[in-house]
């Protein structure tokens, strides 16, 4: 009887742990939707696993154009002073026209932290910044 109770308790704990892992996003998504509304990314924090191809669906709900550029600090520093009017040739540099959606697929080779930012004038200062954690 006592063994049965112990087993039940362990089983419940394992189930709870699994649920908690699901809630906190430990499992890596293969497809992620990022909405752009009032010039902000939603969600602005994401976690994915390294070595897994992830498709980002960028949905711009605003009537103005935006960008979604993801990379490290040096990458963003270059783009803050860049002059490219349009992006799309590289999968980590996407232009998202007003009221449209685009998709891009990326595989991150190693764990780390990157930022996704819109570098159109004034947009980063307005808060168009998100953080991607790669586990």
């Amino acid at each position: 009887m006592r063994d049965l109770r112990m087993r039940s308790a362990v089983l419940i704990l394992l189930l709870l742990a699994g649920l908690a892992a699901g809630c906190t996003g430990i499992t890596s998504p293969r497809r992620v939707e990022i909405h752009i509304h009032y010039s902000h990314f939603d969600p602005s924090e994401l976690t994915v696993a390294h070595g897994v191809a992830v498709t980002f669906v960028l949905i711009n709900e605003d009537p103005i154009d935006h960008e979604w550029l993801i990379g490290d600090a040096a990458f963003h520093e270059r783009h803050r002073t860049g002059t490219e009017a349009h992006h799309g040739a590289r999968p980590n540099e996407m232009s998202v026209p007003a009221r449209s959606s685009v998709e891009t697929t990326l595989t991150f080779a190693q764990p780390g932290t990157l930022q996704y930012i819109c570098h159109l004038p004034g947009h980063e200062a307005y808060g168009m910044v998100g953080t991607l954690t790669i586990t």
Binding site: H37, Y38, S39, D62, P63, I64, D65, A98, R99, C118, L120, G122, H123, A125, Y126, M128
Partner: protein
């Protein structure tokens, strides 16, 4: 003085004058070489009609640029404004120095609907109707680059009044016309509406944290107007200051009335001046004005109330049914209880005591 005057006889004259540091607002032209020196706006209210006058000053350069102004209603006419109304009001509360006086002596679906288009000098005026997104798309399609806060700000206004005035200034055309730097082009809109309000939040469009908005707002009403937020109040967050508050002089009113299109100015009025000097991030409201004499400026017009359609008033039929049910229910229910109590009292156990 005329507290019993009919609400529709109220008059409100509103003049918003951008300080030299004030960006013109909504739309920023693709050609950064052109600067809007300043935007001056006047809206008058009399007999249920608002008279809105805006002047754009040519600051040199080339290309096209413009601004966007939320309006409380659809204009019935858009014409060239008078020549001195704005300057005369400024002079009333900011007397010029003697030196200055001597110088003076010398869209498909989800698209915005275009209601009117008027060309005045080098200025293209378009009156638009649509939601914030539709107005934004229209602006984009017409070559303007909106700042990142535009989607939220346009929605803020469109939820209350889906009418906007887009003004596009063709600096090349202005130069061809021989307009000198500093020359203004006044525009006069006539807008039937219940009560005027002054769009203030639009003045902060495109401004970043740390920047300020400075402007002067003049009101001319039959009586002292009720304002929301009241200058100096906590709601105004220190951004509004009451700088002038007294009966307008007969000389001022006569001068205004003598300008083109200003015949509607009445014989007597109250003049109020509000100075705006607010952090762009704190200017998230408009100035609601109750020009009716009721003393109740609209929370909604000030931008403090939730927007969207107002809740439908309760059905009178439903209220009558509830009233009848209540009226009948009380005596019937009471009678039933009384009968039960009588029966129980007759056949039940005797009460203690």
């Amino acid at each position: 003085m005329r507290r019993l005057a009919a609400p529709l006889a109220a008059l409100a004259l509103i003049l918003a004058i951008a300080a030299p540091t004030l960006a013109c607002g909504g739309l920023i032209g693709p050609n950064g070489a052109v600067n809007l020196l300043r935007t001056t706006t006047l809206a008058g209210y009399h007999d249920g009609v608002e008279h809105y006058v805006t002047a754009f000053e040519f600051a040199g350069g080339g290309g096209a640029f413009g601004s966007i102004t939320p309006l409380p209603g659809i204009p019935s006419s858009v014409v060239r404004g008078g020549d001195w109304t704005l300057q005369r009001l400024v002079r009333e509360t900011n007397p010029p120095s003697p030196e200055a006086l001597s110088f003076a002596a010398g869209a498909a679906e989800d698209r915005a609907v275009v209601l009117q288009q008027v060309r005045i000098d080098a200025l293209d005026i378009t009156i638009l109707k649509g939601g914030g997104a539709e107005i934004g798309v229209w602006a984009k399609e017409h070559g303007f680059s909106l700042p990142p806060d535009a989607p939220e700000v346009l929605d803020f206004y469109a939820a209350r009044s889906p009418i906007f005035m887009a003004a596009s200034f063709d600096a090349d055309a202005a130069a061809e016309r021989g307009q000198a730097i500093g020359d203004g082009t006044p525009v006069h809109l006539t807008i039937p509406t219940h009560n005027p309000w002054v769009p203030l939040r639009i003045l902060a469009l495109g401004k970043t944290a740390g920047e300020t908005v400075q402007a002067d707002v003049y009101l001319l009403t039959d009586d002292r107007p009720a304002l929301l937020p009241a200058p100096g109040s906590k709601l105004a967050d220190g951004g509004l200051k009451l700088a002038h508050n007294e009966a307008a002089s007969g000389e001022l009113l006569a001068d205004l009335r003598s300008d083109k299109g200003m015949e509607w100015v009445p014989a007597a009025a109250w003049l109020t001046k509000i100075e705006i000097d607010a952090a762009a991030t704190s200017l998230r409201f408009d100035l609601a004005i109750d020009a009716s004499g009721a003393g109740r400026p609209s929370v909604r017009d000030a931008g403090f109330a939730p927007f969207g359609p107002l809740p439908a008033p309760p059905s009178w039929n439903l209220l009558w049914v509830m009233l009848v049910a209540f009226s009948l229910g009380v005596p019937i229910g009471g009678g039933w209880l009384l009968v039960n109590a009588t029966r129980n009292g007759g056949g039940g156990r005797p009460l203690a005591g």
